[in-house]
């Protein structure tokens, strides 16, 4: 029964992974990646690690991939065109590497498993939430906290980068529906000029900022 489930979900994971790489449409790739994450979560359940499975779906399939899909939708990324491959010389190297990987796997399957090795500990409760929680907050407290600080730093860093300039003063009244325009945004010949206004249309912003001719991103690329 377990072997059957393993074959089902492992097959699904591999199939989705191949589809993810092969798809030309970025949204199809994203959907395939979600498929990979969910099949992996199912595999974790069969390995008696329900907590990891649930967290895998919540964090990867539910949070990170939603953002990816969101960005693809927002930017309306077009289907990738079929271009002649640059970096063609990498293909034989990749094939060689894949061969090495398969050889390693075969080695482990045929030689390592047959060796007596260490006796398997009783793992019935290792995957449960309570044991993971007590482990994280006692034995592994320091690594856990260090990781959380690292993630916090990433969040703060992302916010700092995103807010870089172009901001209105606190006193500026922004009506809902307004958009913030900076001089840099409207006139590509003045990079770094971040004086900004909030208004409802591009023309109005250009007038207020004194940019005589609108030279947006569409024209000069």
């Amino acid at each position: 029964m377990l072997a059957l489930l393993f074959i089902l979900f492992a097959g699904l994971a591999v199939g989705c992974a191949i589809s993810m790489v092969a798809q030309r449409n970025p949204l199809y790739s994203a959907i395939s990646l979600i498929g990979v994450f969910i099949s992996l979560a199912c595999l974790y359940v069969t390995l008696a690690a329900p907590f990891i499975a649930a967290v895998q779906v919540i964090v990867y399939a539910g949070a990170i991939m939603v953002l990816v899909v969101f960005v693809i939708m927002l930017l309306n990324v077009e289907e990738e065109e079929r271009k002649p491959l640059r970096l063609r010389f990498l293909v034989p190297i990749a094939i060689g590497m894949a061969g090495v990987l398969f050889a390693e796997t075969a080695f482990i399957i045929f030689f390592v498993r047959e060796s007596p090795g260490t006796p398997v500990r009783n793992i019935s409760d290792v995957g449960l939430t309570a044991s993971i929680g007590s482990g994280l907050f006692t034995t592994y407290l320091l690594p856990f906290e260090v990781t959380s600080i690292l993630l916090l730093m990433a969040v703060v860093g992302a916010m700092t980068l995103a807010r870089r300039g172009g901001l209105l003063p606190d006193t500026a009244g922004v009506v809902p529906g307004d958009q913030v325009f900076s001089k840099e945004l409207l006139d590509r010949s003045k990079p770094g000029d971040l004086s900004a206004v909030a208004t409802h249309s591009t023309d109005e912003a250009a007038r207020l900022l004194g940019v005589d001719e609108f030279r947006g991103s569409s024209g000069d690329e």
Partner: protein, 358 residues
């Protein structure tokens, strides 16, 4: 043999739960139309069957026989996938809710717990399935190749991501207090005197309950948080291009979601199947459970008849600047009381003074 028996029992359980939930969902739609009619001073559908009783069946038949229109330039595969994902994700959470206590069933010797799947991480499972449900709406908006749909899909995903945070944080208080993620145990812990006094909503979780309810209404895209399908701005939002059965699937997903968040609220805050005389008559628990869920559904309908819609910036401000901090305060409060033993002290005090047990 034992495995096969287990599997058959599971299948029967799923079938019964599915039938009960779907029937109740169908009649929630009818109840909504009738109650809204009452609130707005009109009658509502009352022609099909006595008092409109057969209206859901007529609606279903109509949905099945309508023409299924697929827009020319839609992304066909995703267009088909989206309603499937929405409905599947909505229905998948039903399996973890305890509908009732252990009861005796004919032909089976040992008592059977009225829950389909009882496992360690039930609550996390619910949260993970809910988070996958966003894709149904987001993909529907994207694949329709329609500006209104796209805007609706974007709004819905932004809203659901934001409120999922408050929803999850609002539940942490209950988890801290009960020390488990298994829904059946959480319900058992809320037994108390006369099936009432142990409910989490009385035991220092009223704030958590309110946060959860508000976030849950936003998660299900209902009034006053129904911006993804705001008629006045977006025609019908993410399902503008959907017709016939595919539209019905979205419609169903919304109501099943309402039903499941109500079940979760009942399970975690209102004592699940606990109530007077459940110990003597275990089957009564099922009725208490469904009764509490129906109460929540009525609350949803009442809200819809009462409140206007938020503006999008108000929605985001409310979610991030009010609900999330409030949820964090709730966590700190609960953790402090748990750590200082205040719960135990209060429980002991009440037990000695009144004879009520927590």
């Amino acid at each position: 043999m034992e495995d096969l028996k287990h599997l058959i029992l599971l299948m029967i359980g799923i079938l019964i739960a599915f039938t009960v939930v779907m029937t109740m969902v169908a009649y929630t739609v009818l109840a909504e139309r009738r109650i809204l009619g009452f609130i707005q001073g009109r009658l509502g559908p009352n022609r099909v069957g006595p008092g409109g009783f057969l209206q859901p069946i007529a609606d279903l038949l109509k949905f099945i026989f309508k023409e299924d229109i697929v827009p020319d330039k839609s992304t066909r595969f995703v267009f088909f996938l989206a309603p499937t994902v929405a409905t599947t994700a909505a229905l998948m959470t039903i399996v973890v809710y305890p509908f009732g206590p252990a009861v005796h069933i004919p032909f089976i010797t040992e008592p059977v717990q009225l829950v389909i799947a009882r496992f360690d991480v039930a609550l996390l499972y619910v949260l993970s399935i809910t988070s996958v449900g966003v894709y149904g709406i987001a993909l529907a908006g994207w694949s329709s190749n329609n500006k209104y749909s796209l805007m609706g899909g974007l709004r819905a995903s932004a809203q659901m991501i934001s409120y999922e945070l408050a929803l999850g944080l609002g539940l942490i208080g209950v988890i801290l207090q009960s020390g488990t993620l298994d829904l059946y145990s959480i319900v058992e812990q809320q037994a108390g005197y006369f099936g009432f006094s142990g409910w989490n909503v009385f035991w220092v979780q009223p704030l958590g309950f309110i946060i959860y309810m508000i976030a849950a209404i936003a998660e299900t895209n209902r009034v006053p948080f129904d911006l993804p399908e705001a008629e006045t701005e977006l025609v019908a939002g993410f399902h503008t291009e959907y017709s016939a059965m595919k539209f019905a699937l979205f419609f169903m997903a919304e109501y099943v979601n309402m039903f499941t968040v109500s079940m979760l609220a009942t399970t975690l805050f209102l004592g699940g199947w606990n109530g007077p005389f459940v110990h003597q008559l275990p089957w009564l628990g099922v009725f208490y459970f469904l009764g509490k869920v129906v109460m929540f559904l009525f609350f949803y309908i009442w809200l819809r008849g009462t409140l206007p819609r938020f503006r999008f910036d108000q929605l985001m401000d409310f979610g991030w600047k009010f609900l999330v901090p409030a949820a964090i305060i709730n966590i700190v409060l609960t953790a402090t009381m748990q750590w200082s033993g205040a719960f135990d002290y209060v429980g002991k005090f009440i037990r000695t003074q009144t004879g009520w047990g927590g």
